[in-house]
Amino acid sequence: MTNFETADFFTDTSLIENPFPYFEYLRSQGPIARLPHRNVLAVTGYAEAIEILNDPQTFSSANAATGPIPDLPFEPEGDDITEQLNAHRDEMIATGLVVAKDGKEHANHRSLMMNLFTPTRLKANEEYMWDLTSTLLDKFVDQGHCDLIADYATPFATLVIADLLGIPENDRITFCEKLGPPPGAVGGEVDYMDSQVLGMSFLFEYFGQYLAERRETPKGDILSQFAQAKFPDGSTPSVDDLVWISAFLFGAGQDTTARLLGASLRVFCENPELQIRVRNDRSLIPAFIDEVVRYEGPVKCASRLAVKTTTVAGVNIKAGTTIALLYGACNRDPREFEAPTEIRLNRPNARKHLGFGRGVHTCAGMPLAKAEVTASLNRILDRMMDIKLSEKHHGKPGDQHFSYEPIYTLRALKNLYLEFTPVR
């Protein structure tokens, strides 16, 4: 049994399969608790997380994707390290990603994404999504069993974002094969300095070429919109800026959605009555998705770097401290969510979870993720009856096990073996 007092959340693989008891231990230490390693304060309180997310001047996103590993490339000095951070930002990992930008530069880059996933824009891609659900399900439904992640969720989410961005079909397979691991490996050996951008470096070459082509000849896809896009002040972004955003959208747009689908099906299997209820009343799907994101959301831990010494909820926070926002814990804060471990489809504050973040960095792909999961759940329920966990792979009820990717940033099922009665 892991000793929670001394555990290192960022390297301890025993906290991967079920981090929630550890989160509750941290909560018992207060909504903001100091971790014993790496100069980190962990946030399990909902209100405290919102206070931090809404104060980007004090809490920089420079380390948002990576957290406290690797160490800062400088020794923080004094009570305001804004200038130090600015001087060393380029030495940090993946700071070209929009999630890791701050201030005006972030606002500019974010604005380029803001009209990509509007309801109208998504309608144009819905037909493709619905067709794709059927194409993928056709491949295995008759067998009566599947690994939802490998057989469905990963190819589905990857192909949807590839279609939306307008990646040529011939390149899509290459992309799926080459995509590196997500950030935040626990005890892993990922060489960040080599990959620099979290396994996405190969995307730059491809996207650079696509965008250059589309500046010449627009094609009506998102990449063409990008190629023509302007910053809010009317200036034109560089191709490099656009490449970073496109590569990010591709990388971020598929893994989290695939894992959300996995989590949704795990919840269905563990709550058979709920499965029946949603099967019989599909209008409950949106509320169900928000509850799954709250209860088992794919983003487990997002980070911030305190650049100014400050106080939140009575806790003194020294400039240079990493703030680990444990969304998985904040979303089970009983001060905000009554009976937080119950899936309730009628919570008055159901949509206020932090599964998609909050504030200036709120997930821009939320509407897309929800559209993808809605289409998938509908079609899965159409085609599969009595969906159950495979006892062979996950064990008998009461003693079930699941493999999650050994990463501290995401809560990501590696596989989810299901058995069901096919509907023909």
Binding site: N54, T118, F356, G359, T362, M366
Partner: protein, 106 residues
């Protein structure tokens, strides 16, 4: 900088300096009035940045898009003419002196 007057749900008023090219939602969210959730972050996909605008400024605002119209229709507090999603309005010098009220929560 254009000055904007925000009226909170409590009736409290606050005058803020807004930066040109920010969205109105960002101005309200970044102000000391902590009651704007803006849960979609500004991509016109929820209605949690719903405001009532000063009628005298309507002609200076961009028209309501189809998406915005659908989302506003989903609110129980829509008031024709003055209801808008603040994420869809960008600050310009023409909005100096603009006033808005944060709509009740749905």
């Amino acid at each position: 900088m254009p000055q904007i007057t925000i009226t909170a749900r409590s009736g409290e008023k606050l005058v803020v300096d807004a930066e040109v090219n920010q969205t109105l939602m960002e101005v309200i969210r970044d102000s000391s009035i902590g009651e704007m959730d803006a849960i979609c972050g500004g991509c016109c996909s929820c209605a949690t940045c719903h405001i009532y605008v000063d009628p005298s400024f309507i002609s200076k605002l961009p028209p309501v898009s189809e998406d915005e119209d659908i989302l506003l229709d989903g609110s129980n507090h829509r008031k024709l003419e003055v209801s808008r999603l603040s994420c869809q309005i960008r600050i310009s010098d023409a909005l100096d002196g603009f006033a808005l009220e944060i709509a009740p929560e749905d």
